[in-house]
């Protein structure tokens, strides 16, 4: 089981992600805006963050930049969730520090695949940190 932070201002999308993740055995932390997401990430250090890009306060690009500049959160994989399938988005997401991205609407298999790619490295990294 992993702890996933979902930063999403849309209540329906939040509930969909929450149901898919909890029914797959994961624990979900939810934040409705970027600042709450940053605070929860700093407090809980989740295994993966799902970051919506269009948020009401800071956008997901800026929230990701802040998390990647903070020593406490910089190693947490951040998967951008975006409805913007525009050319150039991928390079902007990478430049902001996103480790992957997921286009809305997504299916459960796509969500779990995107998260699963980061769970093992995250667990190994934590184990390594504990050893050293």
């Amino acid at each position: 089981m992993a702890q996933i932070l979902v930063v999403e201002d849309n209540a329906v999308n939040m509930r969909l992600a929450s149901i898919m993740l909890t029914r797959s055995g994961h624990e979900v932390l939810g934040a409705e805006n970027a600042m709450d997401g940053i605070r929860l990430a700093q407090a809980h250090r989740p295994d993966v963050i799902l970051m919506d890009i269009q948020l009401p306060d800071l956008d997901g690009f800026e929230a990701t930049r802040r998390l990647k500049q903070d020593a406490a959160t910089m190693s947490i994989p951040i998967i951008a969730v975006t409805a913007h399938a525009m050319r150039g988005d991928e390079s902007r997401l990478k430049a902001a520090g996103c480790d992957g991205y997921l286009a809305k609407p997504y299916r459960r298999a796509e969500l779990l695949e995107a998260i699963g790619a980061w769970l093992q490295p995250a667990a190994q990294s934590r184990a390594g940190a504990a050893i050293t």
């Binding site: 849309n10 999308n13 509930r15 898919m20 269009q54 009401p56 299916r107």
Partner: protein, 124 residues
């Protein structure tokens, strides 16, 4: 599943959701969240239209668009996409022209969503 003529919410999409989420209870949970948030969203858009606030229309239409497509209310989702684009362009003629269809379809979708929540969702 209740029989509703000319569904504003596509029942096939609800079945897809059931398959994706696991069971009808999960679909009901999502529909309940949608009913509350969409009702608020429609009111926000309506108020913003009255105040001629295109920025607020765009933000609320964006949220309602995404939610509506997610539960199979594609016509309302498309109307929200048009409103969002018109708001971004500050095209008040397009916004005013879209309003009657938006009011009609949002009322139908909310009515069906509440009905489905009230009687329970059975997608099988």
């Amino acid at each position: 599943m209740a029989e509703i003529r000319h569904h504003a919410i596509d029942l096939r999409k609800l079945r897809d959701l059931r398959d994706m989420l696991g069971d009808d209870e999960a679909v009901l949970e999502v529909l309940e969240v949608y009913s509350t948030s969409a009702s608020e969203g429609v009111q926000v858009i309506r108020d913003a239209m009255e105040r001629r606030n295109d920025e607020a229309i765009g933000a609320a239409a964006h949220r309602l668009k995404s939610s509506s497509f997610a539960i199979g209310a594609a016509v309302l989702g498309q109307l929200c996409a048009e409103l969002e684009a018109a708001a971004a362009a500050r095209d008040w003629t397009a916004i005013d022209n879209a309003r009657p269809a938006f009011e009609e379809h949002s009322a139908r979708v909310l009515s069906e969503a509440r009905l489905l929540c009230g009687i329970g969702v059975r997608t099988a």
